[in-house]
């Protein structure tokens, strides 16, 4: 198994307690930074590491921190995105529940680098029981002098709080998250301005995913260069993959980026192959929003190269024959799966979760759901299939936030790769499964 940066100690009993975490070397990166690093040196270490955002977009973390204007007198904020709502994604919960101190340690490092005095962890409301665990860990960190006034005599002070959401996928989008944190509806803001310029309460803000932040202590302890030595190409380090669906071993795996997809699916170290010895049919590799690929294209690229678990390899072939690493939510489907039905649940999801600000998204998602329902229940026509493609094209790129694209891509890709199955529904006037 590759270097474990996030899950190394995950099975140690009591890891969620300060005492156990500290004994394993926890919070040493904070001591190191407060003693020897300027805030900009922390940022430069993260830039060197090549760490990319693990929330889905894969934007380089160090570069994002670099956009923060430190010359204004406005407060700056560091916000953790623990909304984890992308279907198929369940990795952040694992960290929050079992290893909350690693997240807190990372929050201190990021906050110090940005010069934040108050930082927030925004946790989806359904995960209140995890919020309680994280709050307890925060309390311990205060008691032990790693949060609050004048941390370890450094002169740096930081307060850290958890904030619950209340059931809205859209609040995972960073500007909607900030609106929600301000006590409003989760309506995404028009960008630019980006949060680095106008963020929480109008102040410069960085939003990062839980997994991104939890990687920071290792990077500071071992150096950015050591981190960038792991992985492949521009996909540095390790990534948590939450694997679910028709595999023998659903769960959360920390992989070195660059692992062959085939090994990930079939090796006993990871997913352990397809259940009941069935055939692999399709995979949604990076959370429900990314294009679905049939077995042939997920195992190998269109040019016959083995497909790797990396940002570059998974997107090779663009949307014609590729997909995206996204959030690492890896949904596996075997031969018994009805692609139309699976897609219908996603269409319903996006319709339900659209915030309603843009008409292509608000109307288009509902329309696509209706048509898919029609096809799945045997009342569809051949024209409906083209209509779906047409609607998805009109949503894509025409909305305020990427939820519109996220709703369009699964539809377009399912029809591109599994058109026959949609046609069979129409011909038979029922679901063939």
């Amino acid at each position: 198994m590759a270097e474990q940066i996030l899950l190394k100690n995950i099975d140690v009993p009591g890891l969620a307690s300060f005492e156990v975490y500290r004994k394993l070397g926890g919070y040493s990166s904070v001591e190191k930074v407060l003693k020897d690093f300027t805030p900009d040196q922390v940022t430069s270490e993260v830039t060197k590491s090549g760490l990319r955002g693990r929330g889905g977009a894969g934007f380089p973390a160090g570069m994002k921190w670099g956009f923060i204007d430190k010359k204004t007198n406005n407060p700056r904020y560091f916000v953790c995105n623990f909304d984890e709502s992308e279907p198929g994604t369940f990795k952040d919960r694992h960290i929050g529940q079992l290893n909350p101190h690693q997240l807190i340690e990372g929050m201190i490092l990021g906050s110090y680098a940005l010069g934040a005095r108050n930082s927030y962890i925004y946790i989806r409301g359904e995960l209140f029981y995890v919020l309680r665990i994280v709050e307890k860990a925060i309390e311990e960190a205060y008691k032990n002098g790693f949060l609050g006034e004048n941390i370890k005599g450094s002169g740096y002070s930081l307060d850290l709080y958890c904030q619950p959401g209340a059931g809205a996928y859209i609040c995972g989008e960073e500007t909607a998250l900030l609106e929600s944190l301000e006590g409003k509806r989760g309506n995404p803001r028009i960008k630019p301005p980006f949060p680095a310029v106008v963020g929480l309460y109008g102040c410069p803000t960085v939003v990062n995913n839980v997994e991104t932040i939890a990687a920071l202590p290792w990077i500071i302890n071992n150096g950015g260069e050591a981190y960038s030595a792991i992985g492949i190409g521009n996909s540095k380090g390790t990534k948590l993959i939450s694997a679910c669906g028709h595999i023998n071993k659903p769960g959360i795996y920390e992989i070195e980026l660059g692992l062959p997809v085939e090994e990930f699916i079939y090796s006993d170290k990871y997913c352990g192959g397809i259940r009941y010895g069935h055939e692999l049919k399709a995979v949604v590799a990076g959370g429900s929003s990314v294009p679905i690929l049939p077995a042939s294209l997920i195992l190998k690229t269109a040019t016959g190269e083995p497909r790797l678990m990396s940002y570059e390899s998974l997107s090779e072939g663009g949307f014609v024959s590729g997909t995206m690493l996204g959030s690492g939510g890896f949904i596996v489907m075997d031969e018994t799966t009805c692609i139309v039905k699976n897609l219908l649940t996603f269409a319903k999801f996006y319709h339900h979760e659209s915030c309603g600000q843009c008409s292509p998204c608000r109307e288009g998602t509902g329309w696509m759901e209706k048509i898919l329902h029609r096809i799945e229940s045997g009342h569809g026509t051949m024209k409906d299939i083209d209509l779906l493609v047409n609607i998805s094209k009109h949503i894509e790129g025409n909305t305020i936030c990427p939820l519109g694209d996220a709703a369009a891509w699964p539809v377009a890709s399912a029809i591109r790769h599994f058109r026959e199955e949609f046609e069979d529904h129409v011909k038979l006037q029922k679901c063939p499964f």
Partner: protein, 176 residues
Amino acid sequence: MPENLNIEFNRETLDLVNKIIKRYPEGRQKSALLPVLHIAQAENQGWLSSETMEYVAYLLDIQPIEVFEVASFYSMFNLQPVGNCVIEVCQTGPCMLKGSEEILVHFENRLGIKSGETSADGKFTIKTVECLAACGNAPVIQVGTEYHENLTTQKADDLLEKWQAENKNSHTNPYL
């Protein structure tokens, strides 16, 4: 406090609310809206009446319409009464692949109600929800702040029996 309101949190709950308000900069107490609505909903048998929302507006010194605007946006807030025990069944793709429909139908049959309805005795409500971020252990349901994972119809029966016996109330203060 507006005279028409017959509602007031106890000391302990008010302390919690005030502690939460202090987490945000001066004048930004509206940020406490989501946390306080969660607490208010638990205190009001699992739903937000207009009176409850008005009280929350008073606590945070904002307009009642601002509270309603937010409460109606988020799916965890119920604007109609619900049963003592709300069973939320995940129906998104990964759970569907592992048989969540069967689980939903099973609850519906056992309780004699459809999703979105409350049993006549007021004990149970069934709700369908979207991905709960636990897809590796699908199918998944949520009850209050508890998750129940790897659900089977057998497990569902055991849980129902237990909830019946203990007169389950899923509306507890989520912070405690």
